[in-house]
């Protein structure tokens, strides 16, 4: 076992023990963490609901109410550390652009899509724009028994989002409002003008070139007496403010009687960005921010005694705006590249500074124009359910139709503006050299993106108990069509599915499920596949011999095995048809006229099929100590095969083909998940509870028809998907003798202080052949979260600690690599190698030009991305039992913080997201609010 794995398992075991010890002494209750699920309750499963007691599948669930203690404009980010088996990897933090990457039980394929299928209220949709207050539950369906009815859409797991509906109860109205602010976690740190100029001179000297800055100039940078000809600009400070305001408000109401059940919600969310407000400075700009309105009306009407209509209507409208006529990424890019002494923000005459290489970020914000985008989402469905108890008790038929769509259009208004470079003439006059010119705003309104999804479903359900025998049968048919802008053909699926669940004495459970599905992406005759699964369960605690035991209140052992698939296979669509394509033209004639060229495209794969996965899962659920302590653990082994791969090992070159993609790849993915939760009783003044979740998933490429490599370490097969390959840095060259005695580094001439690499193949040369696996892929293998909560009378406190391990991050770009592309230099370059600091240098010798040796992809720039974050803290005070005259049933005031602390890497990057340090920074958010229930 590798050290890292041992480390993970140690954390895992320790955490579990800690929880159990903790829990065994606990006597009290907790208001926040989830309650034990009574056996009679129904849980959401694929295409329906099921008695919790009869479930044999692996799934994990979080309630919407638990998610409202964090803040993100994207609901996906709130799931971080909440659902056993679900890994959330943020991909950015800009308000409105913060969609994370989601992984259900790790990664199972190197070619196809890895995202779980998202089903909102029974239909494929996206869920990231929803708000926590409209969510009843979000569940991750993990094993074959849970996902087989989704056929070849289930292999990556299914995220089941269920929105709140009305219930048979008096009207309840809830209003809450939160205000707060976000601050950046880290910003990259760049040197000021004096530091820049000093190091630049050193870098030039290292290349044998003359210094650019004289002693007098260095002095001028140091004392800052000449801000125009010796400027020292901190572009981050110039363009960003330290906090970005946030406010959210929402109102919902819920209730119902014999005829109608209803849930309604209206919410508004407003997050400004870190960019300074510019609107008052010019007509050519706009303040930056993101705003979203959500609404939902879910109504269930009993049309007759047996016929129910369920209308689901949810939507959102979002507006995003930025100055500078683009997303903020180009602005952040510019701020992190311009040397601090390149030019002042403003020249002495008030004009914008600039030069031939760089535009002025502040000028861009104020003068370059504006960028707005407006998005709308609409999710609608109508479901009719007819109970047919008069035919036979327990029988029901239902049908549903859904239209979901999303539309976003972009409006860009841009212009150019003048910047002036300053110089001094021989006579000492200030000379202005103009770059760019002032133009009027030009609009560009024709870009948009959209998708729409139409789905029709029909169901027959039969749920009845015959004495000790309980039967629950579901049969369904499904058709859906998903149209995405920019794609000529909609994505379509048709399928039949079913589930047969049998329980004997509520003790012996067996569950067969299957689907028969087809997709348009495969050739006629190869379109349909059957995906069966079986799950078994044994509720040991129901056995007569267990009745005497005092330890377990409930103990269920589960197992499942089955086949599911993934039809997001990668490669071209319709690869079963041989396509021809245009290639570069050839030129003929005295006029050198081009004549188009057409060639055979990638060779068709007439038998192309979806990825298949055999999923095996065993687990148990237990409740102890009067149901106060709950334990649950799962082990899974997924064998994915028929992954598309290029047959590099079988098709000879003299075939002359553009190699097809064949279904020859295989991946093994295995792991464990565990949940330990303790929650006491409601009736004490002091209560607390705790929940611990840990999970581990690790994949291996078993087959991919990889081409033969000269050296074994160059093989990708047998490693994790996405394994990075790079040079292994083994320190800095000490001196010329060290260079002479080391293998020849062939990228460029090396000098003392350059990074020294390991000669992996011992051939005396460091070259492309020495690229070996270094570090880990960007995605983690392990995470654990600890979620304690406390209550004393009206005061409640909870927090969520989230630790992640098993991935690597890579440091490139100007936040790390000094002087690249005429750029600036970051603070970490102060640790550079010089002859005097050879023993303690932490950074290679500086060079003024892009260094072909030091800035190669190597382990020097790689670091473990393991981290521990205090994801969330919330402190609240609840006023209840208010006099009726007030008209308020209860009120709760609270303050919370999201991503308060992070322990992990040392650099200015967010270890969690694989974005560069020079992108929009990770944010720490503080909110205060009040929640009033009427």
């Amino acid at each position: 076992m590798k050290r890292s794995e041992a480390y993970h398992i140690a954390i895992f075991v320790f955490g579990m023990l800690a929880c159990m010890v903790h829990a065994s002494r606990a006597q009290a209750i907790d208001p926040g963490t989830s309650r034990p699920v009574p056996d009679s309750t129904y849980i959401e499963i694929a295409y329906g609901r099921q008695q919790a007691a009869r479930n044999v599948a692996a799934l994990s669930t979080v309630h919407g109410d638990e998610l409202s203690t964090l803040f993100s404009t994207n609901l996906g980010n709130l799931l971080s550390g909440r659902l056993a088996g679900l890994t959330v990897m943020p991909q950015g933090y800009e308000p409105g652009l913060a969609a994370p990457r989601l992984l259900g039980r790790g990664i199972g394929t190197f070619a196809g899509g890895t995202a779980p299928l998202v089903m909102v209220d029974g239909f494929e949709s996206n869920f990231e724009q929803l708000v926590p207050e409209e969510i009843e539950t979000i569940s991750l369906l993990k094993d074959a028994a849970a996902t087989a009815v989704h056929g070849f859409r289930g292999a990556n797991g299914v995220l089941l989002v269920t929105t709140k509906r009305g219930r048979h109860a008096p009207l309840q109205v809830q209003f809450d409002t939160k205000v707060g602010l976000g601050t950046p976690f880290h910003l990259p740190e760049f040197l000021g003008a004096a530091g820049y100029a000093t190091l630049y001179n050193e870098a030039l000297a290292n290349e044998g070139r003359a210094a650019r800055y004289t002693e007098a100039q260095l002095r001028a940078y140091r004392d800052g007496t000449d801000p125009f000809f010796h400027p020292d600009v901190d572009w981050y400070g110039q363009s960003l403010r330290s906090v970005a305001p946030i406010n959210t408000h929402q109102l919902n109401f819920r209730g119902g009687n014999d005829v109608v059940h209803y849930f309604g919600l209206l919410s508004m969310m407003n997050e400004q960005t870190l960019l300074k407000r510019t609107e008052k400075l010019s007509d050519n700009t706009t303040n930056s921010g993101y705003r979203r309105y959500n609404f939902r009306t879910n109504i269930d009407v009993n049309l007759t005694k047996n016929l129910t209509a369920m209308l689901t209507l949810g939507g959102s409208v979002e507006d995003k705006r930025n100055p500078g006529a683009s997303e903020t990424s180009s602005l952040f890019g510019a701020m992190s590249v311009i040397p601090p002494n390149a030019f002042p923000v403003f020249n002495p005459d008030g004009s914008y500074g600039g030069n031939s290489l760089f535009s002025n970020p502040w000028g861009d914000m104020v003068e370059k124009g504006m960028y707005t985008s407006n998005g709308r989402t609409l999710q609608t469905s109508l479901r009719l359910r007819h109970k047919l108890d008069m035919v036979t008790p327990g029988l029901a038929l239902s049908a549903a139709v859904s239209f979901n769509n999303f539309f976003r259009n972009f409006s860009i208004k841009s212009r150019t503006y003048e910047r002036f470079a300053l110089s001094q003439s021989a006579a000492g006059d200030t000379v202005y050299t103009r770059f760019g010119q002032n133009t009027s705003l030009q609009g560009s309104e024709n870009e948009s993106e959209q998708w729409r999804n139409v789905a029709v479903q029909g169901f027959a359900n039969y749920d009845r108990d015959f004495g000790a025998h309980g039967i629950d049968i579901m049969l369904m048919g499904n058709y859906d069509s998903y149209t995405v802008s920019g794609d000529a053909y909609p994505y379509k699926h048709v399928g039949l599915g079913g589930r047969f669940n049998y329980a004997f004495n509520q003790t012996y459970l067996i569950d067969f499920s299957a689907s028969y599905m087809g997709s348009e992406n495969f050739a006629k005759g190869n379109r349909f596949g059957l995906f069966p699964a079986v799950g078994v369960g044994w509720v040991v605690s129901n056995e007569p011999f267990m009745q005497a035991n005092r330890l377990f209140d409930r103990l269920k052992i589960r197992g499942s095995y089955g086949l599911v698939g993934n039809d997001v296979i990668g490669g071209n669509r319709f690869m079963f048809d041989q396509a021809y394509r245009y290639s570069s033209a050839y030129y003929f004639g005295t006029g050198n006229a081009s004549i188009s060229a057409i060639e055979e495209g990638q060779i068709a794969n007439p038998g192309v099929t979806w990825e298949k996965e055999k999923k095996f899962n065993v687990g148990f659920d237990a409740a102890l100590l009067g149901n106060a302590l709950q334990l649950s653990a799962d082990y899974f082994f997924n064998h994915r095969y028929h992954i598309l791969a290029s047959p590099n090992r079988t098709i000879p070159g003299f075939f002359g083909m553009d190699l097809p993609m064949l279904n020859v790849g295989e991946v093994h993915n295995r792991g464990v998940e565990a949940i330990v939760a303790y929650h006491g009783r409601h009736d004490r003044p002091f209560g607390y509870g705790i929940r611990f979740i840990a999970n581990y998933a690790n994949d291996r490429i078993v087959a991919m028809s990889e081409e033969l490599r000269e050296f074994g370490y160059q093989q990708t097969t047998g490693r994790r998907i996405g394994q990075p390959f790079g040079l292994e840095a083994i320190g800095f060259f000490r001196d010329e003798a060290d260079i002479a005695n080391s293998p020849l580094q062939t990228f460029t001439t090396v000098y003392p202080g350059d990074i020294k690499y390991r000669d992996q193949n011992n051939d005396g040369y460091i070259d492309d052949a020495d690229y070996a696996p270094i570090g880990n892929p960007g995605s983690p293998t392990f995470w654990a979260s600890l979620h304690p909560s406390f209550r004393y009378k009206g005061v409640d406190l909870q927090f969520l600690l989230h630790g992640v391990a098993g991935g690597s991050l890579y440091r490139s770009g100007l936040a790390y690599h000094a002087f690249q592309d005429n750029g600036t230099v970051a603070r970490i370059a102060e640790g550079r190698w010089t002859p005097a600091t050879a023993d303690r240098a932490t950074y290679p010798r500086l060079t003024a030009t892009d260094n072909q040796n030091n800035y190669r992809y190597s382990s020097f720039w790689q670091e473990k991305s393991d981290f521990l974050k205090l994801r969330n803290v919330e402190l609240g005070y609840t006023l209840s039992h208010l006099p009726e005259a007030v008209g308020i049933r209860s009120a709760r005031v609270f303050a919370n913080a999201t991503n308060l602390f992070s322990w992990g890497t040392s650099g200015p990057e967010d270890p969690e997201s694989n974005t560069t340090a020079t992108a929009y920074p990770a944010m720490r958010t503080f909110l205060v609010g009040i929640n009033i229930a009427f």
Binding site: H386, L388, A399, G458, G477, I603, P652, F655, G656, R709
Partner: protein, 568 residues
């Protein structure tokens, strides 16, 4: 009743499933559409032409010359350095063209199969005489396409043979599940014979010249000239002397069976003469030497790789001191030394560093082709003198300056302005008349030494307009003449992709490709005086196994019938 209705709806839903998943319209370019259309099929022929590599960035963005003693590529990141330092093998060969040319061969075979399926019924069935005329013209044109494609396919095979020796001859179109177990490499002799036969077939049908719109298509002369080159290679030492691969089990793959050498040289000479004498082609040496490399339309050009206008070669080749220049393919001292010096009496002598006059002013009175091919220090280029001296704008000290002290001139368009992004048309000449002259002289000198044509054709090349080098001396014996022909070939065809193959077929590679690559260090003394010192830029590696490229290890694994070349 209600129940039946519900189930009926469900069943109906599913019954239409299979059809629901069909696409109603097709937007892709399907095989059926391509092979029946005249226009699309014409485009598939263009695609076969497109397989011809652009010699301006043949290996790792560099000229092939940079893996010979002609030049050194400035960028450390180019894969050509792997060849120069010997770090290439069956797993990693920067010039592994196996897949590239077999892909071209497949395209050619597909075009040949498809041309016959073109549907011309709209003309054929129209009694209108003009339509009937179009029909006739198109039939003839499509027939010509077949022979253009066969020539190109032969060209691809010739390129494969140069690199790998005998190769599998593929005339069909493989399906995915084809059995490859018993596919073998053809012997060198039969591979060469295949190319020769294809050249003959193509030459019988292809026209000697083309009208305006078709200039650049394969001609009869191109087919005959390829044949001349292949026969010259076949007669040369390498293919007739497998001693370098002693003990190799399949000598037939890398050498010809023992036979009449003289007859082989005679065949080569006759093939070259057939091009020279080709009626109707109008071949003649181009008016000026430098202008030849700026045009695609010259009586000297027999076959050239056409391209659109670009400036990427100038970006790659301009000296580092010029805007956006990257120094690129830097000529070597080894090559520069090969250009003769003109004496005052009008005769020429070899350049010699031991000759004090030569060493003091090495670029004076040289064969004019030196200045047309190599940018030497202190010559005017784009409005200033090139500063290759130590500390000069283009000299050592500047990052990415040429390591040899020279920059490339041949093919580089001085008038391109990189800052404003102007471009010009670059056309890579594969075969030109001067090569055929030298092919003829070389073969004739081996088969019929003393024949007057030998000196005559070498002198024609030397005397070309703008070069005007004095004729060879009278009375050279066969060995001396061989030396002169080889020297002439070296300077006349410098950087044009010949040196690598010539040094190998002459079996002089150890002392040429394997010789240290030299450059010059120039120091400026005073205002305009310079002193010169020859330096060693790089040690080069040549081992006998490099006479033949290795076949990729992947390929041996996949097609078990293939045999590796000697000593790899």
């Amino acid at each position: 009743m209600k129940r039946t209705l519900y189930f009926g709806v469900l069943l109906g839903l599913f019954a239409s499933c299979e059809d629901t998943l069909d696409r109603d319209i097709l937007t892709a370019l399907s095989k059926e559409r391509v092979i029946h259309s005249y226009d699309f099929t014409r485009n598939t022929v263009s695609a076969v032409y497109n397989v011809l590599p652009d010699g301006f960035s043949e290996i790792g963005g560099a000229l092939q010359a940079t893996v010979t003693d002609e030049a050194e590529h400035t960028s450390e990141n180019s894969s050509v350095h792997r060849i120069n330092n010997g770090a290439w093998n069956p797993y990693n060969n920067p010039d592994d063209r196996w897949n590239h040319y077999y892909r071209g061969i497949r395209k050619a075979n597909q075009a040949l199969a498809n041309i016959d399926s073109v549907n011309l019924d709209m003309y054929r069935l129209d009694p209108d005489p003009t339509q009937q005329q179009v029909y006739g013209e198109r039939l003839a044109e499509m027939n010509r396409w077949k022979y253009e494609v066969r020539f190109l396919r032969a060209f691809f095979y010739a390129e494969l043979i140069k690199r790998y020796g005998g190769v599998p001859i593929v005339e069909g179109i493989f399906e995915l599940d084809a059995d490859v177990g018993d596919i073998r490499r053809s012997t060198l002799a039969s591979s060469i014979q295949y190319v020769l036969d294809e050249c003959d077939s193509a030459a019988r049908v292809l026209p000697a010249t083309y009208g305006g719109g078709d200039l650049g298509r394969a001609t009869k002369g191109a087919a005959l000239a390829l044949k001349s080159r292949v026969l010259l290679y076949a007669a040369s030492d390498l293919y007739n002397d497998p001693s370098w691969a002693a003990g190799y089990a399949d000598p037939g793959l890398i050498a010809l069976p023992a036979g009449d050498r003289v007859a082989r040289w005679q065949a080569a000479a006759a093939a070259a003469k057939a091009v020279i004498d080709l009626p109707g082609a109008g071949y003649a040496l181009h008016g000026g030497y430098p202008a030849l490399f700026k045009t695609f339309n010259s009586p000297e050009i027999i076959f050239t790789r056409r391209s659109g206008a670009s400036n990427s070669f100038e970006i790659a080749s301009f000296p580092i001191g010029y805007d956006l220049g990257q120094s690129g393919n830097a000529p070597s001292q080894n090559l520069v030394d090969a250009y003769e010096v003109l004496r005052a009496d009008g005769t020429a002598e070899p350049f010699d560093w031991d000759n004090a006059a030569h060493a003091a002013d090495p670029y004076a009175s040289r064969d004019p082709r030196l200045a047309h091919s190599v940018l030497v220090n202190n010559t005017a280029f784009k409005g200033r003198a090139v500063e290759s001296w130590v500390g000069g704008r283009d000299g050592p000290g500047a990052n990415m300056a040429s390591k040899t002290g020279y920059y490339l001139r041949k093919y580089v368009d001085e008038n391109v302005n990189l800052l404003t992004g102007t471009t010009s048309i670059h056309s890579w000449i594969y075969i030109r008349l001067a090569e055929v002259y030298l092919n003829y002289a070389e073969a004739l000198n081996e088969s019929d030494p003393g024949h007057p044509d030998i000196k005559r054709y070498v002198d024609l090349v030397r005397a070309r307009s703008g070069v005007s080098m004095p004729p060879l001396p009278e009375g050279l014996d066969q060995a001396l003449m061989r030396q002169r022909i080889r020297a002439e070939r070296r300077v006349e065809l410098a950087f044009e992709g010949h040196r690598l193959w010539d040094t190998k077929r002459w079996m002089v590679a150890p002392e040429t490709l394997g010789a240290p690559l030299r450059g010059v260090e120039i120091r400026r003394s005073g205002d305009s005086g310079f002193s010169y010192r020859v330096t060693q830029v790089e040690t080069r590696t040549f081992q006998p196994r490099m006479y033949c490229y290795p076949i990729g290890q992947q390929e041996l694994l996949k097609a078990t019938g293939l045999v590796q070349n000697p000593m790899w």
